[in-house]
């Protein structure tokens, strides 16, 4: 069982740079919805200051959290399944920005053989302005138990 005392724990806020090269790589793998996602001139013609961040890209930057709350909670990555992900967007983010991520564990709940952990991360921009809120729900299988997830 995960100690429910972890509800409310916060990672120290950390920063991540939005890099053009990584955005281009992401769009190359997933498929770019339009030229403004990979081409700086096209981005500027579309009114963007730089390459815009695709809707789900911030999730990967949030994963770079240097304080590993899951490990602290005694959760191994190979027992984890991602069951829900949400984003609320406050303003678009662009290459060249340094964003700040402030994660907090907001819920831990057991349901059957699974435990559900909810992590909410507020992402803010260079001047502290809200950029997006990330909402992640994972299911954790009990240690030592194999088999299918949900």
């Amino acid at each position: 069982m995960i100690d429910t005392a972890f509800v409310g724990s916060r990672s120290a806020p950390f920063t991540a740079d939005v890099e053009r090269g990584r955005l281009r790589m992401f769009n190359e793998v997933v498929g770019a919805p339009g030229a403004e996602f990979t081409d700086l001139d096209a981005a500027r013609r579309a009114g963007h200051p730089d390459l815009p961040v695709p809707p789900t890209f911030l999730f990967g930057l949030d994963l770079a959290d240097p304080s590993d709350l899951l490990a602290e909670m005694g959760v191994d990555l190979d027992r984890v399944l991602h069951v829900e992900q949400g984003f609320v967007y406050h303003r678009p983010a662009f290459a060249g920005q340094t964003l700040t991520f402030a994660p907090v564990i907001t819920d831990i709940r057991a349901r059957g053989a699974l435990e559900f952990v909810v992590r909410d991360t507020a992402v803010t921009g260079p001047a502290g302005e809200p950029v997006a809120d990330l909402h992640q729900v994972i299911a954790v299988r009990a240690a030592g138990e194999g088999g299918e997830g949900p």
Binding site: P33, P55, F59, G60, L77, D78, G86, F87, G147
Partner: protein, 238 residues
């Protein structure tokens, strides 16, 4: 970029389906690197088996990223207000993801901006993106909005404010660089100000911005001379 008639979309309108995407091991390896999700159950079949799976499974976020691509092919990315999915079951390697999205609601009432949404919005559109066939993948919802004119004006004010802050920062850096150059020249015993260089700067600004460019260049050159830099300007703009 798009020819899809978003403005005339109605409840039930389907976005053009993305070409099916086959989940190959190569795609999973590339997505791990590009997204930053390095969980080995997506890329290493030994690790997947050790975790009790038959083989590697796709990142849930791969299907969500594809749905994000589908939505932003037709909806400007800055108009997306929210996007969420539930991952129904692990997507096995070799599966083909079919990504669709349908309009589920259109709300013209800007008083009823949903929780967490940027507001006010002239109109908002709810979507039901799905990368789920037949039984795996994910499905969820998204909301996009067309900003009201007021909101567009406010956004443009913000943007111009950002540009001004960047310009001030650049002007300060230019002045500092010019002061550094002058002190280098003094150490070498050469004159700190070279008229030929200053003329080249004036011509550059004139060719880019016309007569106002010349005036701007004169001001910038003046700011670059140590005696004309205001005291205590460091970071005062922050």
């Amino acid at each position: 970029m798009s020819v899809f008639p978003l403005a005339s979309a109605e409840v039930g309108t389907e976005l053009p389906e993305l070409p099916g995407v086959r989940v190959t091991r190569t795609l999973l390896a590339l997505f791990a690197g590009a997204s930053g999700d390095h969980n080995p159950i997506h890329i290493d079949s030994d690790a997947a088996r050790a975790a009790g799976l038959d083989d590697v499974i796709a990142h849930g976020m791969l299907s969500m990223a594809l749905l994000g691509r589908l939505l932003t092919t037709w909806v400007p990315v800055q108009d997306l207000l929210s996007f969420k999915v539930r991952f129904s079951a692990p997507t096995p390697v070799h599966a083909v993801l079919r990504c669709t999205a349908r309009v589920t609601a259109i709300d013209e009432d800007e008083e009823r901006a949903g929780p967490g949404c940027r507001s006010p919005y002239g109109s908002r559109t709810a979507w039901s993106p799905s990368a789920a066939r037949p039984s795996y993948g994910c499905r969820g919802g998204a909301v996009s909005g067309v900003p009201s004119t007021d909101e567009q004006v406010a956004q443009q004010h913000d943007y111009i404010g950002e540009l001004d802050r960047s310009l001030i920062d650049l002007v300060v850096r230019r002045s500092e660089a010019a002061a550094e150059l002058a002190s280098l020249c003094r150490r070498l015993g050469s004159p700190g100000v070279e008229l030929a260089r200053e003329n080249a700067v004036l011509r550059l600004y004139h060719s880019a911005l016309g007569r106002s460019g010349t005036s701007l260049a004169l001001l910038l050159l003046g700011l670059g001379r140590p005696e004309s830099r205001p005291a205590g300007e460091e970071k005062a703009h922050k």
